[in-house]
Each structure stands twice: as structure tokens, then as C-alpha cells.
Amino acid sequence: MFEQVDLKETFTELVRRASTDLPGEVVDAIRAGRNVEEDGSLAQKALDTILTNIVMADESSAPLCQDTGTPVVWIKYPVGVSTRRLEADFTEAVRRATKLKYLRPNAVDTLTGRNTGNGTGRAIPSIHFEEWDGPGLEVKMILKGGGSENVGAQYKLPDTGLEAGRDLEGVRRVVLDAVVQAQGKGCAPGVLAICIGGDRVSSFEHSKEQLLRSLGDTNPNPELAELEKRLMAEANELGIGPMGFGGKTTVLGVKIGVLDRLPACYFVTVTYMCWADRRAIVQIDEEGGLTWLS
């Protein structure tokens, strides 16, 4: 299946797009932030530099950010396709993209400290597979930078210090805490990708999956849609601003997903994504036709 299409080449192109070309709605959100900052402020200068950088990266097909991140990938595949082959092809694509300088050699052996040199390593890239009824492949990826990954946080409710109970008000309190703790260190203005519930692992995974949503979408759950809006407004009242220079633009979006939980556990996981909210999607039909999305 999919013999007509060179998957390694297609995945390499997917990585190139993610690393060099930011989704349009993310650029729009940065521009909107730029326009509400005071003229001549550090915040506005920072966002102007970022907007210039976005144009340069796209025009020269070079990485938006030198930290090209962890490629995190979600692949939907039809019955009968080998996930081992897909994994091998994607991993080879990461090697090629590293050679072509769309990615930095970004995998380090944790024990020896040596860089593997080719962009791949244990759990890099990180690939999630899901069999579906469709005839084609759908491949979605994000590039998740390390600086923003370091300021992500997982809370367990109740949290006495933050007076956060096991309800959406408790969620609100811990998410705002995560933004205050992060300050500008995650390359604000960032996107907050949140999961409520799950276990420690599934909660982080599901929070990252929220980064596949478009910034402009509306959460199908009205209560969560309301909370997303409120958190966005309140985070932007904190005055942290772009790069932590101060200003009105601290977050570009808030996305909340939910998983069920054990009676004993109530996790709230906040994945912080930097302004370089890199995402690319390709759909491959059974004839090998490609549809590129972001």
C-alpha cells in the first residue's frame, strides 16, 4: 500500500514545512498582539522582530528557530499498513531533514552526553499511531522546542497552596500559576495546551495533542470554551508580555482537552508551546495524492 508515493520524501517535506513555515493563524495572532502593544515598547519591538523572522524563515526555507525541537507525530493509517515501516520511514525523514539543515542535530545520549548527530535517538522522533477506517494516511506533526518544554507543568488537584480544588476553578488557578512560573522563559507569547484528567503520561500526551487544533477553533464543550477564553484574557492581564519584557501579549491561545481519571487522581497538565507554534499536516490518499495542511 502507498507504493506510488515516496513516503520518506513526503515526510521530509512535512518536516521542512513545520520547521520553516508557521501556520497562518499563528502569524495572525502574533500580528494582532503586535498591534495592541504600545508603540515603541520593548514588547512591540520583540514582536516586530519575530514577524520579520517569520518572513525570513519562510522565504529562505530555513528553520524559524534554531531549536528545531522534538518531532512529535500522530499518524492515522488504514487496516493492513505496517506501522514499523511508517516509523522507519519517518525516522529516515528526520535524518534527511537534519542533513538538509531543516532540523538541528537535536538528540543527545543522556548518559554519555554525546549528540547522536543525525537528529534521531531513543523516543526521537516521538510517533503515535492510530488505525482508522479511512483509506489513506493522515500525518500530523508538531516541532516541540526544549525551552518551552522546560516550563511545562503538571499539577495534581487539590493543590492547597494555590487553593485549587477538583473543579474548573481549580484548573483555572493552577494554569495561571503555570503562566506566572514560566514568565518569558518559554519564549512568550506562547500557547497553553492543557489536559484535565488522565494519568501522568496520558495527560501530557493529550495536552500536546491540543497543539494540533487551530488557534481560532472553538472547544465543542461550552464550559471548556468559556474557560479557554477566560484563561486567555487573564493570562494576558499578568503583564509578562513577549519574551517577559512586559506587555499585553503573554499567550496567543489556550486549548483544553479532557481525559477520564481514576477516583484518586485529578491531574492538570500544561504544555507550554513557544510563539514558534510549528505544525504541519499531510493527507495521503490511496492513489498517493497529497494534501498539505497546517
Partner: protein, 195 residues
């Protein structure tokens, strides 16, 4: 925007204050996590002349080697500086650095070190890897490339009007402290708590 030539004197650096925009020109060096640990393990005589009176840039670049063997930076924004907090003040004092470029700011130990040694913390725009790479016309030399790999090696580079903002100065001023305190006050208000 004021231009600052590297190498730079202690006196010129002590004149700088939080909020100053600068464009740096001259020679500097990159160094991040592995480099800072290595610089403190023992005195690295071979690298010392490249640190004296200039700045260290917290950066793990994407680098291309050209056919003639020379190097070029093709993406080169700052990395988060706070990880170097355990080392930074000592690295500045030991090697006579006049500044650090990074992002996100640093904490009390570094701030005190900036005052003691006469140095500044310079903030570059995080993620602006293309804008900043274009302000780096030449890569002169590299240390520890095989041992540390591309992102962590110490690259000696020439910069031309490299844009930064002073966010921590040698007089105890820190924009990061100011912003953090303000955000915590607002946070307490949003949570209905007294500060």
C-alpha cells in the same frame, strides 16, 4: 539604537542600564550547558583569550559546513539562560567576560556577579533564529565540536549589528525581577488572595 563594539571595557559596560537597546559588532563566543560546566571544571587556557572582555552567547546554532571547510550559522537564536545560573557568575569572574547574551533572564547570583565583575545580561529575541543568524557574518573557530556536538560546542563568531536589550545591569537592575513581581501581584488579585 546604540552600537557597542566588542571587545568592550569595564567602564563602558558599567554605563549601560536596563532598557538600553544595543547593536553589537565584533567578536564573541557561544557556549551553553556543556560549555559552562566545562569552563568551570578547570581553567581552559586555550579558550580564555576568546572570552576576555567580550560576551558569551547562550546559543545552540544550526550550522552548515561549506565545501571549503568553513562554517556558517544558518539559524542562531538564544537558548534559555537560567540553566547556567549555577555557573554564570563564576565564569564571568574567572574569564573576565563583560556580558552574557541569552533569553529569559537570570537570577540573583548572576545579578550580583554582574555588579561585582562589571558585566551585563543582554536579551536577544527568543526564536528569532533567522534575524540573528544574519547578524553573524563569520564563524572564526570552534572548540569542543567533537565532544559536545554542534549545539553545545563553543563557536567563536563575528557579529555585525547584533540586536539585544539590556535586561540586567551592573547596578542591580533587573527587568525580569520587575516583571515577575508585577505579575505575581496581578496573579494574587486574579485568585482573590492578598499578596
Amino acid at each position: 539604537m546604540a552600537e557597542l563594539k566588542l571587545p568592550v571595557s569595564e567602564k563602558s559596560v558599567r554605563d549601560l542600564e536596563v532598557g538600553d537597546f544595543l547593536e553589537l559588532s565584533g567578536r564573541m563566543i557561544t557556549g551553553r550547558d556543556a560549555a559552562h560546566k566545562w569552563l568551570m571544571e578547570e581553567y581552559r587556557e586555550e579558550v580564555a583569550p576568546f572570552l576576555k572582555d567580550t560576551v558569551i552567547y547562550h546559543c545552540g546554532p544550526v550550522v552548515n559546513q561549506k565545501d571549503d571547510g568553513s562554517w556558517e550559522f544558518i539559524a542562531a537564536g538564544p537558548t534559555t539562560s537560567i540553566r547556567e545560573e549555577p555557573y554564570q557568575a563564576d565564569v564571568i569572574a574567572r574569564y573576565g567576560l563583560r556580558g552574557v547574551i541569552g533569553k529569559g533572564g537570570m537570577a540573583g547570583r548572576t545579578l550580583a556577579g554582574l555588579g561585582n565583575s562589571g558585566a551585563v545580561y543582554l536579551h536577544a529575541i527568543g526564536g528569532a533564529a533567522q534575524v540573528l543568524a544574519r547578524a553573524i557574518p563569520r564563524v572564526e573557530k570552534v572548540f569542543m565540536l567533537d565532544e559536545f556536538g554542534v549545539p553545545e560546542a563553543l563557536w567563536v563568531i563575528e557579529v555585525d549589528r547584533f540586536p539585544v536589550v539590556v535586561t540586567m545591569d551592573s547596578h542591580g537592575g533587573s527587568l525580569h525581577d520587575t516583571i515577575e513581581n508585577g505579575s505575581k501581584t496581578k496573579f494574587d488579585e486574579l485568585l482573590g488572595r492578598k499578596g
